[in-house]
């Protein structure tokens, strides 16, 4: 069992959630409550990582962030290390790959809030921010929670993008899913088996948790 790889995987999952959730809540709510020109395009762009092969995403990310690209060179100059093949670069790639997993459940969550509830809140003299924090977020909470859990699960399972953009650097970009591949290529079936079983257990547990949480449509009051 590669504990370092498990740690990288878990941190990548948590980091992706932390990075994406605030943007996801903003964008998901925007898509749920507003009509604006180009909304169709935005929705399509948000969903596109879901249907693209990971290699397409990996290729573009590497071309954009690699040491031979202007962006990659700028990052290298400022941070003293490359964005590709680093944990930070992997986090960014993971965030992009996970956009649909965050935005869609959150959008559904906000869409489920009846318009009159929002209007009633405004009539009671709540500012838009108060209305958002006290009324909308608690009501959309199941969607937000689902988004977080799906992102976490998907990040743990990501392989193609990680291998292309991250390489296989221990402690940095070698996630559990890459470590399985690595061990298999070293004929170390036992370690690969243990790690595969670990990911399987985590995946099943996560999905069970999602089902339980999404059934609880009416959120508890804090």
């Amino acid at each position: 069992m590669d504990w370092t790889a498990l740690r990288v995987s878990l941190w990548l999952g948590v980091g992706t959630i932390a990075l994406l959730l605030p943007c996801g809540i903003w964008l998901g709510r925007l898509l749920a409550v507003r009509e604006f020109p180009g909304k169709l395009l935005v929705e399509a762009l948000v969903t596109v990582p879901l249907v693209l092969p990971p290699t397409v995403l990996g290729f573009y990310l590497l071309v954009t962030f690699g040491a031979r690209s202007p962006l990659g060179q700028a990052f290298q100059a400022v941070m003293g290390q490359s964005l590709a093949f680093s944990f930070q670069g992997l986090l960014l790639a993971s965030a992009i790959a996970n956009i649909p997993f965050v935005v869609q459940p959150i959008q559904r969550g906000f869409e489920a809030i009846p318009t009159d509830v929002r209007e009633a809140a405004s009539c009671c003299g709540l500012t838009p921010w108060q209305r958002f924090v006290r009324i909308e977020v608690p009501l959309a909470w199941p969607g937000i929670l689902t988004a977080a859990i799906l992102t976490f699960a998907h990040t743990l399972g990501e392989f193609g993008v990680v291998l292309m953009v991250g390489g296989n650097l221990p402690g940095q970009t070698r996630t559990l899913s890459v470590a399985i591949y690595d061990r298999m290529n070293a004929f170390d079936d036992r370690s690969a088996g243990v790690m595969a079983a670990t990911l399987l257990v985590i995946a099943v547990a996560t999905l069970m948790l999602t089902t339980v949480l999404s059934r609880r449509v009416i959120p508890r009051r804090g």
């Binding site: 980091g15 990659g72 490359s82 093949f85 650097l169 402690g171 290529n185």
Partner: protein, 262 residues
């Protein structure tokens, strides 16, 4: 309600603080990170263990196809040293100004034909068994490394061409990303066998999985394996670079299926 908003805010702060502490932990001092061709999987691990015992310093080994690793180095992967399975890839990096020096040849690889237990393939140096099996229509799949990215794949292609088998065998070939993956394909039983690195066939996990025969070195261009120090190499990597050329490392490499230049 107000207090729950505050707790929420604190929770976010905690998450951010955790992330910051983590990223610094990840960025902390690490042993030298070294990229190595997949055929070195076991031999170099033994060299690295010995190195750590002798010097107290550690190296972190990342294995992959030489072509893949070269691409990663060009794209900025933070390796300090690169042990390739050929000369072409390190030379490419030298030409691009990514290495400290032109490097040295540290080993010459050897190729074996391998058949997993229960396979109808009979292995021999001249690949007569493979020729017979192919004529009889008994070859389902045959594994080699991808000649585009793996030097051992190129050597395998040369051998098959020399024996006049390349064209007829082609539809049956499965290509591994690296020689390690090719070896993985060759052992799973989905292939009747494959052409793989001698160094992998000698590894303890592998030995019990089937039979192999050495392919004469004259049947393919020599697999001269060159290593180079990369631009960001530190003192540990430089020490390891010298260590690989030393007596202990050479003895290990020889025992693990490589010819070692004098």
């Amino acid at each position: 309600m107000g207090s729950s908003v505050t707790t929420l805010r604190w929770r976010w702060l905690a998450v951010i603080a955790l992330l910051v502490s983590f990223s610094s932990a990840v960025g902390a001092q690490r042993p030298a990170t070294i990229a190595a061709a997949a055929n070195l999987n076991f031999a170099l691990m033994e060299v690295a263990d010995r190195f750590t015992r002798d010097t107290g310093q550690r190296v972190e080994l990342v294995f992959g196809a030489s072509g893949t690793l070269t691409r990663q180095i060009q794209d900025g992967a933070p390796f300090e040293m690169f042990l390739a399975a050929d000369e072409e890839f390190p030379n490419q990096l030298s030409a691009a100004g990514l290495t400290l020096d032109p490097g040295v040849v540290y080993a010459v690889g050897q190729l074996v034909i391998f058949a997993p237990r229960g396979s109808p393939l009979v292995v021999d140096a001249r690949l007569d068994g493979l020729t017979r099996l192919l004529r009889a229509g008994g070859v389902s799949r045959f594994a080699i490394a991808n000649p585009e990215v793996a030097p051992y794949g190129r050597a395998a292609e040369a051998v098959l061409r020399k024996r006049g088998l390349w064209e007829s065998l082609r539809p049956h070939l499965v290509l591994g990303d690296s020689i390690a993956q090719a070896a993985q394909f060759a052992t799973t039983g989905n292939a009747v066998g494959g052409l793989i690195a001698y160094s992998l066939a000698l590894s303890p996990d592998f030995a019990q999985r089937g039979t192999y025969a050495l392919v004469p070195a004259a049947d393919h261009p020599p697999i001269r394996q060159r290593m180079v120090l990369l631009k960001r190499s530190g003192p540990v990597a430089e020490r390891f670079y010298r260590y690989v050329q030393g007596t202990e490392a050479r003895a290990i490499l020889r025992r693990q299926g490589f010819a070692v230049p004098e």
